[in-house]
């Protein structure tokens, strides 16, 4: 087991596959078995990531290239959704606040919802759909066509070159995208308010910033790193360990999105528990 983790080449993963195969032959078929095997190999994959991310040489060029692909190319999608969410949320919250005579609280309320929850969660889900599936499909097709094997044969560590760079870029890019989406979301909200009321930009944003404290901004920002990490890691894991065959590519992309999104919600739930510990 120790030796297995310490090996850092393609054959290690093969070794794990063989081990899991042998392991799986000893337990009867069940959903539980599948689940535990998956958790087991995902854990090993994660440990390997941490081992290889700190070990030189570092693939700076590839990280920059991936960050560009992952981050910059998602900007428009994330911006458009952010704007629509801000606008819709504002329009839909207004009637309720009118009922209680609290329309003046609208900017503050929308700001807190966007910054704390809706911005990070929606952006992460879009990120899982676009980036997670992209990584899953790309690595799976490289696996099917033996490109990953070709890399390790030519003396490049494919885990480091392909997986570490992508996971790292995803972890760094999602928080930036969330900040961008939040900002555009608040702009959308400003537009939404001005459809019915007349509020100056100065008044709107000063209300927004008054309502937001450290407790709103900091935990919301920190959790996005975990979202990005989980999405990148699961996409890479599904792609890197896909079945050899074109069918494996579709499956990898699909389950990268499904499990990536699920992980976003699970992390979100954990994060809310932790932050409420400090707030009460």
């Amino acid at each position: 087991m120790d030796k297995m983790i310490s090996r850092s080449n393609q054959r290690e993963v093969r070794g794990i596959e063989n081990n899991t195969k042998q392991f799986s032959e000893t337990i009867p078929d069940s959903v539980f078995k599948k689940f535990f095997l998956e958790v087991y190999s995902l854990t090993i994959f994660t440990l390997r990531f941490f081992k290889e991310v700190i070990k030189p040489p570092y693939e700076f060029n590839e990280v920059i290239k991936q960050s560009f692909i992952i981050g910059y190319k998602s900007l428009s999608l994330v911006g458009i959704t952010g704007f629509i969410i801000g606008l819709v949320l504002t329009i839909q919250s207004r009637p309720t606040l009118v009922k209680f005579g609290a329309v003046s609280l609208l900017p503050a309320m929308v700001a807190v919802s966007i910054i704390r929850e809706i911005g990070p969660a929606i952006t992460a889900l879009i990120f899982a759909g676009k980036v997670g599936s992209g990584i899953g499909a790309e690595l799976a097709s490289m696996n099917v066509t033996e490109q990953i094997d070709a890399m390790s044969v030519s003396g490049t560590n494919p885990f480091k070159y392909l997986v570490v760079t992508r996971v790292f870029s995803a972890t760094l890019m999602l928080p930036l995208l969330v900040v961008f989406a939040d900002t555009i979301g608040l702009l959308g909200s400003f537009v939404g308010i001005n459809l019915k009321d007349k509020v100056s930009a100065y008044l709107f944003f000063s209300q927004v910033f008054q309502s937001l404290g450290f407790n709103d901004l900091f935990p919301a920002f920190i959790k996005t790193f975990f979202f990005g990490f989980a999405i990148g890691l699961i996409g890479s894991y599904k792609g890197y360990n896909s079945n050899k065959g074109t069918e494996g590519v579709g499956k990898a992309a699909n389950s990268a999105v499904v499990f990536g999104s699920l992980m976003v919600f699970i992390i979100d739930m954990i994060a809310v528990q932790i932050t409420s510990l400090f707030q009460s």
């Binding site: 080449n9 093969r14 097709s141 030519s154 003396g155 560590n157």
Partner: protein, 259 residues
């Protein structure tokens, strides 16, 4: 049978009187209940072209993938360039791999890169940075060798099957490896290009004194390039010898490969 092949092996040792670059003893590999390699004993000498013949699915590709460590052995000893593979750590393994060239049966080109980038990739991944002019001239030379000079800015998806194969070959040869493993280098190529690839393989052997294993179904090619031939049947070496030896073998199965 095993005793038989090993006696031939020893004879060859004497004949060539060359250093051994790859040595396998009692190699075994199974996938679940599918026993692919049974008991492979084999040596390759410096500067030798060893051709492996065998029916589809007998484990030829698995055998050479074991040599580069893409597939783990179940049992047996594998020594490459004097180093026992199972005792090496990551770094040493990567160093050994840089001395081995591997042509995949499927060419395994990097889809996201152009032809030029495909060739540059192995060069750029070297420990000592190679200057840009050297890279450029090496890439040009490699493409000319396989007749693809015009395709330099294309993507692999724009190439024909044979062109992909030749590009794969160029990418493998660009590092001038000490050991070359060719998995069906001429399959899917027209007879003229096949001949060209064969003479390229011979050229590589002559100029760089490379030791090669060539898996092929192309008997003309085998005749041209082989110093020694091994016939694999059911995951074992069934016969071993020169082209002339095996052509006149008493075993009908072995002989049938040469008809």
């Amino acid at each position: 049978m095993a005793a038989n092949t090993s006696s031939i092996k020893i004879e060859h040792n004497k004949n060539q009187n060359n250093s051994v670059v790859v040595e396998m003893e009692h190699l075994k590999k199974s996938f679940g209940n599918n026993h692919v390699l049974h008991d492979i004993n084999l040596v390759i000498h410096k500067g030798e072209n060893l051709v492996i013949l065998g029916k589809s699915g007998t484990g030829k590709s698995v055998l050479i993938k074991c040599i580069v460590g893409l597939i783990d052995l179940d049992e047996g000893k594998l020594v490459i360039l004097g180093q026992n593979i199972s005792e090496l750590n990551d770094k040493e393994l990567i160093e050994i791999r840089k001395k081995i060239g591997f042509l995949f049966q499927s060419a395994a080109l990097y889809d996201s890169m152009t032809v030029r980038e495909n060739l540059e990739f192995p060069l750029r991944r070297q420990m000592n940075p190679v200057p840009k002019e050297t890279i450029d001239s090496l890439v040009k030379e490699a493409l000319q060798n396989v007749g693809l000079a015009d395709a330099i800015d294309m993507k692999p998806s724009e190439l024909s099957g044979g062109m992909r194969k030749r590009l794969g070959l160029a990418r493998t040869l660009i590092l001038k490896p000490e050991i070359m493993l060719y998995d069906e280098p001429t399959t899917g190529l027209d007879p003229i290009t096949s001949k060209e690839i064969c003479s390229l393989i011979l050229q590589v052997q002559e100029i760089y004194n490379t030791s090669s294993i060539i898996i092929t179904h192309d008997i003309e090619c085998a005749k041209l390039i082989a110093n020694r031939i091994i016939v694999m049947v059911d995951g074992k070496c069934a016969a071993e010898g020169s082209y002339a030896d095996l052509e006149n073998s008493s075993d009908t199965l072995v002989r049938s490969f040469f008809e």
